[in-house]
Symmetry: D3
Subunit: 306 residues, 6 copies
Amino acid sequence: MHGIYLVSDARALTARNGKPYLALTLKDNSGQIGAKRWDSSDEDVRVAKPGKFVEIGGQVELYKDVPQIVVNSLAEAPAESVKPEYFEAPPNFDPVALKRELVAMLRGLEDEHYRVVAEAYLNDEAFMERFAIGPAARMMHHPYKFGLLEHVHSVMTLGQSLCDHYAWCNRSLVLLGLFLHDSGKVVELIGENVPGYSVEGELLGHITIGINLLDRKLQELGEQVPHHKGVLLKHIILSHHENAEYGSPKPPMLAEAQIVHAIEALDAKMNAFLRENELPAEQEDATGALRYSKLLKRRIYTPPPK
Amino acid sequence: MHGIYLVSDARALTARNGKPYLALTLKDNSGQIGAKRWDSSDEDVRVAKPGKFVEIGGQVELYKDVPQIVVNSLAEAPAESVKPEYFEAPPNFDPVALKRELVAMLRGLEDEHYRVVAEAYLNDEAFMERFAIGPAARMMHHPYKFGLLEHVHSVMTLGQSLCDHYAWCNRSLVLLGLFLHDSGKVVELIGENVPGYSVEGELLGHITIGINLLDRKLQELGEQVPHHKGVLLKHIILSHHENAEYGSPKPPMLAEAQIVHAIEALDAKMNAFLRENELPAEQEDATGALRYSKLLKRRIYTPPPK
Amino acid sequence: MHGIYLVSDARALTARNGKPYLALTLKDNSGQIGAKRWDSSDEDVRVAKPGKFVEIGGQVELYKDVPQIVVNSLAEAPAESVKPEYFEAPPNFDPVALKRELVAMLRGLEDEHYRVVAEAYLNDEAFMERFAIGPAARMMHHPYKFGLLEHVHSVMTLGQSLCDHYAWCNRSLVLLGLFLHDSGKVVELIGENVPGYSVEGELLGHITIGINLLDRKLQELGEQVPHHKGVLLKHIILSHHENAEYGSPKPPMLAEAQIVHAIEALDAKMNAFLRENELPAEQEDATGALRYSKLLKRRIYTPPPK
Amino acid sequence: MHGIYLVSDARALTARNGKPYLALTLKDNSGQIGAKRWDSSDEDVRVAKPGKFVEIGGQVELYKDVPQIVVNSLAEAPAESVKPEYFEAPPNFDPVALKRELVAMLRGLEDEHYRVVAEAYLNDEAFMERFAIGPAARMMHHPYKFGLLEHVHSVMTLGQSLCDHYAWCNRSLVLLGLFLHDSGKVVELIGENVPGYSVEGELLGHITIGINLLDRKLQELGEQVPHHKGVLLKHIILSHHENAEYGSPKPPMLAEAQIVHAIEALDAKMNAFLRENELPAEQEDATGALRYSKLLKRRIYTPPPK
Amino acid sequence: MHGIYLVSDARALTARNGKPYLALTLKDNSGQIGAKRWDSSDEDVRVAKPGKFVEIGGQVELYKDVPQIVVNSLAEAPAESVKPEYFEAPPNFDPVALKRELVAMLRGLEDEHYRVVAEAYLNDEAFMERFAIGPAARMMHHPYKFGLLEHVHSVMTLGQSLCDHYAWCNRSLVLLGLFLHDSGKVVELIGENVPGYSVEGELLGHITIGINLLDRKLQELGEQVPHHKGVLLKHIILSHHENAEYGSPKPPMLAEAQIVHAIEALDAKMNAFLRENELPAEQEDATGALRYSKLLKRRIYTPPPK
Amino acid sequence: MHGIYLVSDARALTARNGKPYLALTLKDNSGQIGAKRWDSSDEDVRVAKPGKFVEIGGQVELYKDVPQIVVNSLAEAPAESVKPEYFEAPPNFDPVALKRELVAMLRGLEDEHYRVVAEAYLNDEAFMERFAIGPAARMMHHPYKFGLLEHVHSVMTLGQSLCDHYAWCNRSLVLLGLFLHDSGKVVELIGENVPGYSVEGELLGHITIGINLLDRKLQELGEQVPHHKGVLLKHIILSHHENAEYGSPKPPMLAEAQIVHAIEALDAKMNAFLRENELPAEQEDATGALRYSKLLKRRIYTPPPK
């Protein structure tokens, strides 16, 4: 066999005979497969990093009932041979349209100070580029290319409905808070098709990183934004996981922060329910079927066929 | 002084001199005041129960800087002298309109089985009467006459928006689940202007009571409702507090149950934020003001005046 | 090899070559063994469900040092070929005698109202049939045919001693509470020799199911049973796991409920101690031996041989 | 007024005018009353220690609706004036009979080694004297003279029934374990009519103290008792609160330890249910009455009058 | 009476007669006293803020056995009448010397990058002024003028010893981490003699604030400090409470962060042990005395006099 | 192949063919390897216990890519063939020197009573022999020969620095407390090169065992040591894990106990950081590298190469 694959996991191990080998997981549009590169060279290790495309030659063998590739040749795939459409499931939404709508929501904020803050992000090209393409998590929710955009667009859309309902709340604060709540993920997460954490992300977390990014914008904007409005935005980022156990040292202390938490937590779980519905059923009878979701840490239910 | 009051708290105590006395809290539209009835008779105790109206004569004295009534005469207030408008803050919504809208939402459920279940409740006059007038809690949220109706109407309205957004969910199940989630409160809570718990309510809780009420409806409806749909409605009631610590032995195991939990928990907290905003500030500076909310178990924030 | 087995686990999997196969666990009186049915048909999946008896042909192979059967032929076992005594370890008690004693205890309840409730269950043939044969749990305690009967008989016997000791308690309430505490397990659990959970059982749990069953009996009995006595029985079922963490939203609020909890929790653990004593020792020295019990989540001790 | 009282609480405080005063709680058979000794001397402080009897002169005044004594004269009560029957509610059991039965149970242990250990305690006069008179706790359960004896006698009696039931258990180990489980309380607790903690009790706890007492007995007995039997008795003392949160660093690791825990925890709670039943009702309706028990940290129920 | 006091608490309340009054706590060198200003004006409220000095006229009355001032006249104290030495207990250390030593420790850091960061703080006059005078907490530890300086000086001194011992650690990182760990308290806390929290402090906490302050310094310093060194300093601030429950979303992930946590947590507790030792004893016998420390949430021990 | 190995793990298992076999882990200075002894005899099981040296013949095979020995001959290694230096990594410290320094610190205690207690341990040859050679834990920290000595020496050295800093503390109590805190490990742990728990250690834990050892010394010393000083030493041992969750039923109730806890907990973690630094990196980028430490239950960081 011969082909081009995306490396989604690579571990350099030493066999008991003292020789190094590489245990790889390779991905393309059709799924993934394990692979072994025996007697791997330093060059192999350098080439076969998670997130890189490699050109592989070898043969498929069964190992514990599961096919795996024993790799004979391994090289960086020439950029021109990598057809992105072979490696990404096309999202079931249009990222360009989502981004356009999101920008429109931000530019339409009523409160002029919050609008100025939003504009500072929209004008930060490096930020927006990463924001528009990155995943929202490594596993839990929206863990795929454009996932962060999909999640934030979804919660801002919902945010509008909730602010219609709780009309006494500050709509601009809710919407900007929703835009910013996961903004630190542009640094915390790396990769698109194979999301992972950066070392900085592990050491600080997206909440701290996001607040630092915001603080820099506020420093640049100076007196254009009243001090307390900056503090509130930071508080909303800080409290969006609701309690200490989940990483928020402060609970939501204003209604707008509570809304941000409620929407974003629901949207994350809804995404997990949707994706985990594909798992094989563990139990099934006339009442329906159950499958165990590691993401949600519980069994989830599907109704019986009609 | 002389007047008619609603008894909101009454404790029959024995003074050290061996004589009984009554410590009362009296309420009308303008607020509440403490009162003492020295050398109280058995008749006094019978008359002055929480939730009853009494006619009081006495004088106001200061006790630890706080005025209280020393009661000289105490009698049940004649029904004709009790003007309801003196004892209830008029709700800032129209309960008749809310109920009409709620009924319309239930009668409009798409799924015929769930519609049949809804109809069974709508036709249960005793249930609907209590449902339309009772409070939603003793303290935490919507703890006042019509509070349960206001809460359920609010969450069903929101539920419609959320089902528009997560269009892959079963809209009928979400809406009926929201209608039923707190239905056991018609037994758990007693009183309207002075909500309290019934002894049955304390022993069983509204979740268990609500599921029993539903089971009776399902028994009556028999084969009109597929078994698994009844089970799902019970599961939604059972899991609406989300985890064991808060009284739900099972977590939401389908997306519709997750939505019911998210909306109703948010609506309860929003009601608390709104009402607790009236508390006196404990801290105040240029950033804004903080007051401590016992309901939310945290400090809550108000922005500085513009 | 050729033989008749009870299927205790069956998973329909897809091999990497795209073909389906069945991974089975087969049981008879002598123990259990793994089996693989390669290229399994839909018919195979239908036939080889957990709890069913199958007729197997194939050969035994070693896989990772462990023998397993590679299945060549697979069919439903003809009812007449299934000899129950080959598939069940005979219980070390006489289920008929236990049931007779249990019925006698219930018919001897002093309190006439509680006796009426008990009678309603005894007259419910479908209930009693399942009650007398089913297991008490999938793993934790008495997880075998007749296990529920053994457990309930044991705790009612103990309950008599405890009521002799705490003579100020309501003996009828304790004994009936013990009879009912796990009654929802007739729906929660399925299978006898291979206990499992029903989907309804997972969605609602045996506590909620048991309370619903009781509510139906109480509805039928109407005014024959004073309202508060029904509430107390429900409360005892509700609180028998003692705290929220273990699935009881309310703690025992009367001494009789506390006794029910104490006895049934002890009996479950005693059953686990007894069965786990068979595990291989992990540590052993002059002080005795220790083995790790997953059920009890701790090491358990056996004294040194004399 | 003039009289002899038992001091149950005494706090030496300094008034804002800089002068010292004593705030006392005084007890006799009929109940308790607060008292103030203004401008107290060092001698007053020395005399009026909790657990001592004092001769008081003064007058009764009302303070916040509650009578209290303003003390004019204060002196140690002459031993001959203190009539014990005025200061102790007679127990509703015969402590002499209980002790006799307890001794008989211990002398009847089948296992000769455990019988030797029991004998070592029975021969320790100082231990037995304190054991036979002391309370079992400061508040939680059996907090009165002879309370420890009552509790231990009760659990050993129950222990016999449980060992009849679980006949595969080591009866001698269970019974001796029950005798020893709270033995450290002879040092942890001080006082009889007014139980309190010793400073050593607070620093070490009755579990550690009890194990040390046992270790000394075992050191004296030397080879008369096999090593592992001493370890098991220590383990039963150590684990009798079942988990770390309640002060047992090790869970019960043998069935006999599990029984000791189950019985003694139940007996403590039953004692609390019994005593707290006297509290005033907080809620009452046709279903019954509820009162809040601080000891049990929950509401407790009483049925409606027949 | 007539005098100048520091306001340490001020609550604007409304009496039942509808008139406003002020409940004050006033402090000077000799202790504190309560005060009431009846019929308070808006001007009174403005003047009598916690942390301000006021000139008071009135008379002392006893209220519930405790003297309090009924205020007749109330005005801002003229700056020239306020003698600081009447309002501050002189610290038992020399703040000037401590600051000098602390600066020397920072200027002596071996690692040039960390030294540059330290210098950026030393050159920030506003920061250093507040740092050198402010308290370290409102209650828990070092809650007095110069308390932050005392705490940080203490932990840096200890840090040197620990780095001598664990010589494989990065000494510069430990010492700078200790200097920065509580740096956000310059914003979180307000007041010196009467420490309190700013609203921003409550919304964000000193950890988030301190990391923002550091991020600004790092932005200014740009490429003078390698990126990863800035991340590590932020991580040390973030993790210095060790776990989520105490406000650190990330645990110490390098040995140097572990040392910072260990030292600063110990120093805070040692300060509490030292100050709480002054509390009145609750229990006392030949083993010693115990007093209850709210700060440490436990009883603390003092040995018996020799 | 043929050689002498230290058995570090041995499990007697039964294959599905009904025959027994031994699964061994063998160790020498160069690392460890798995081994299988098929058809093992009772004699094999007796010989191949963890901690024993065996002489092995067999051949090396690959099993799941990992070499293992299939054992053909197995016998106890003759004592004279076992060269200790082949089986122990030499410690990177001099145990003789450490012990000498530790003895000197104890003999130099200022407080004569505590010095007498220390002397009682130093004169207990059996204790000191085990103390000087044993490990400090099975896995967590210092889990190797001389590890307990290394740990105790380290914390006593640090203790001197801390007592210099907190000069108001009782230096003798801190140092003796540090010496004794883990003294029960001489019974709790067995083995040196392959540390394990004794059955008594699992049933009682080193805290209880250590307090018993101390109590025996105190019994021997009688009136030479004031009662309260013995109690304090026991309290320090009891509270050195700081809270119930980690096995200390009492928190440190005096400053000296707090210091003992702080130092020993830090030293244990520092040892884990140091050893776990050898683990392979899981994540690595310009900020540095992270590896997952099971001991510390978190990721730990290493800076990027310079």
